[in-house]
């Protein structure tokens, strides 16, 4: 189950493990992230996403396996990789009594390579708040500031830990635009999230994590296809169409009733739709409203972990 990207990996983790006491936060995971990819770690709280990302940032030492980031071993040379990565922690940590501009300048002073504060302020739309103390910022502004701080050294690789948790829909969408832009600029992004929609929209590839393990990895389409070869043909329940008559339709493997709808599971969508319409004709039903649905990432997740991923 190892997906090796075409380009040389920016992140390469092998059998990575980390324990806290008797708790296995990360229980041996292996994956690679290629240059220019947006890679998502998707999982519920406590799945080991944050521990994984913090090991790769050089903030925690793994106690099993190894990982290289931008060619540097994370356990042996964390200082070398810190110079080249951008980091946004799950909880935005800022000096409350410094202004936006002061804080960006301060973080700039830590790096050899750095971008001008004005440019970053402009880029993240913080122009009007540049002289505001960080304690006076709104949640969305604070998050954009912490993204600005992650960009201060013009990093090749950006780590974002739950970047949109706690943001309102508008701020979330604005952050998605920024992440999409990072990809267009050729930067590599590793992000964690527990939002399906976010993972589906932003990530080139996804690793689904639970209990410290990677359960499945690949593009959204791959994951769905791998687990669900079937699609569903759906329509509102009609008394004329009995389960017995429906189960005899071409390609249908299962008939289910979900949310007031009939769902026909099939591997042959055109065949099933054709047969269903023909059956309707025979029974004199003209207004059958059909929908075809592909299973979503959420269905994959449910299938893998046995639970829904909601906060």
């Amino acid at each position: 189950m190892r997906d090796v990207p075409a380009t040389e990996p920016v992140i390469s983790a092998r059998d990575l493990a980390k324990h806290y006491g008797t708790v296995k936060a990360v229980a041996g995971i292996t994956f690679e992230v290629g240059r220019g990819e947006v890679f998502g770690l998707l999982g519920p709280n406590g799945a080991g996403k944050t521990t994984t990302i913090e090991i790769l940032e050089g903030l925690r030492r793994p106690d099993g396996g190894q990982a290289t980031v931008l060619g540097h071993d994370v356990a042996r040379h964390p200082d070398r990789l810190k110079e080249r990565i951008g980091v946004q922690l799950q909880t935005a940590a800022l000096y409350p009594n410094l202004t936006v501009a002061e804080l960006i300048d301060l973080f700039g002073s830590f790096y050899r390579r750095r971008r001008p504060a004005d440019e970053l302020i402009e880029e993240l739309g913080l122009g009007e708040r540049r002289t505001a103390l960080t304690r006076d910022l709104s949640g969305g502004q604070r998050q954009r500031l912490s993204i600005a701080l992650a960009l201060v050294n013009d990093p090749e690789l950006i780590f974002l830990d739950e970047p949109t948790t706690g943001l309102d829909p508008q701020a979330r969408r604005s952050l998605w635009d920024h992440i999409a832009r990072f990809r267009s600029e050729g930067r590599t992004v590793l992000l964690t999230t527990h939002y399906m929609e976010e993972a589906e929209r932003l990530c080139d590839r996804i690793a689904i994590m639970d209990h410290g393990l990677i359960l499945e990895m690949g593009t959204v389409a791959e994951l769905v296809t791998r687990h669900f070869r079937e699609r569903t043909v759906r329509f509102d329940t009609r008394s004329e169409l009995t389960d017995a008559s429906l189960s005899g339709i071409r390609g249908v493997s299962r008939v289910a009733h979900e949310d007031g709808e009939v769902a026909l599971y099939t591997t042959d969508v055109p065949g099933t739709v054709g047969a269903l319409l023909a059956l309707g004709d025979r029974l004199g039903i003209a207004d059958l409203d059909l929908a075809v649905r592909r299973p979503s990432l959420e269905d994959v997740f449910l299938e893998l972990t046995g639970r829904a991923l909601r906060d």
């Binding site: 940032e57 980091v87 922690l89 940590a93 000096y95 410094l98």
Partner: protein, 360 residues
């Protein structure tokens, strides 16, 4: 170097934008200096004596004149009831009653004639002093009246001692206290920065921990400089307490004191997990330091069982060192011992926090 300068500037900005820390480190010690100065310098050693003359003869008036010649006594004439009431109200320190019949008694020279002196035994210093003065004056009069020349006399010679004024005692003390608070209170922002994951965020940058600690030291030393200048300046301007010792040595001791207590602040931050715990721990540390370290009164005045406690308190030695060098106060221990004890606390605290301080 650039990171150290930027971090120091950021620390200083964070500090002066925080009103509470500004108050505790700058305003509070100044209020202390002014308050202590007013209390201890204002109360001069002068005693008001109520004078109740029930005799009214020239002999009694002569005796009163003798008392009036004592410079530290103020004599106020009143009748007995008024004088005693005034003493109860705290307006008089003592009352002397000269009963009727003094003139006759002196002429007869029989039984000794008795004056009555009221003093307040709960005010030990005042009552002892007044008793001594009264006995002395009366003794002198006895001698003159009896006409016997004195067989013994005392010549007094001036000699400069290390008994310093109250103001000269407490200015170095308050400076020591301020330096102690500056260091110990450093634990609170440190723990807050760890709790809010600021230290963790910094850990994800190339900023080294040495630079981070270094910037904190730079900031605290600068604040110590401002504090010391203010306290010494106000001590000199309002109470005439000037530095008699080597100013470089004084500055070095201030730096040593600031560093020692900053290291103790790091020890507190090593054990406190939350900002609330850090707040509580700094109080637990600073109050015994303040009151059991002889910075407000000499250690010899403390009860015997507390003196060994004072002997281990680092603040005892900082106060002692500053008092010796700033105003030439009496030494509790030699200056080298002060420096050694402070240095010992610094090294031990540094080692403890280097071992136990957590960044996240």
């Amino acid at each position: 170097m650039r990171a150290l300068a930027a971090m120091s500037v950021a620390n200083i900005r964070s500090f002066y934008r925080d009103r509470a820390s500004l108050f505790w480190t700058l305003a509070f010690p100044i209020i202390f200096v002014v308050l202590f100065g007013s209390i201890f310098s204002g109360g001069s050693t002068r005693f008001s004596i109520g004078w109740v003359d029930q005799d009214g003869t020239p002999a009694a008036q002569g005796m009163r004149a003798a008392f009036e010649q004592v410079p530290i006594l103020g004599i106020e004439e009143a009748d007995e009831d008024a004088a005693l009431q005034a003493m109860r109200d705290g307006e008089l320190d003592a009352v002397v009653i000269v009963p009727a019949g003094l003139g006759n008694a002196l002429a007869d020279a029989g039984e000794p004639f008795r004056l009555t002196l009221y003093t307040d035994p709960s005010r030990q210093t005042a009552s002892t002093t007044v008793q001594q003065i009264v006995n002395q004056v009366v003794g002198g009069m006895n001698q003159r009246l009896s006409g016997v020349p004195p067989l013994l006399a005392v010549d007094t010679q001036p000699l400069q001692t290390q008994n310093i004024s109250a103001a000269a005692y407490f200015v170095p003390s308050i400076l020591a206290m301020a330096l102690m608070q500056l260091g110990v209170f450093a634990a609170i922002p440190l723990v807050a920065q760890r709790e809010k994951l600021i230290l963790k965020r910094l850990g994800a940058t190339p900023l080294s921990r040495a630079t981070l600690v270094g910037s904190n030291v730079v900031m605290r030393l600068l604040i110590a400089l401002v504090q010391s200048t203010l306290i010494i300046g106000i001590g000199a301007a309002l109470f005439g307490v000037t530095i008699v010792g080597n100013i470089i040595l004084v500055a070095a001791l201030i730096a040593l004191g600031a560093l020692t207590f900053l290291a103790i602040g790091y020890v507190i931050a090593s054990y406190a997990r939350t900002e609330e715990t850090a707040n509580a721990l700094t109080s637990v540390v600073q109050f015994p330091l303040m009151f059991l370290s002889g910075i407000f009164f000499p250690i010899e005045f403390m009860p015997d069982f507390l003196q060994p406690v004072a002997a281990v308190m680092p603040l005892t030695y900082l106060g002692d060192a500053l008092r010796q060098t700033m105003v030439g106060g009496a030494a509790y221990v030699p200056l080298e011992v002060d420096v050694l004890v402070l240095g010992g606390w610094l090294v031990v605290s540094f080692l403890i926090s280097a071992r136990f301080f957590r960044w996240q």
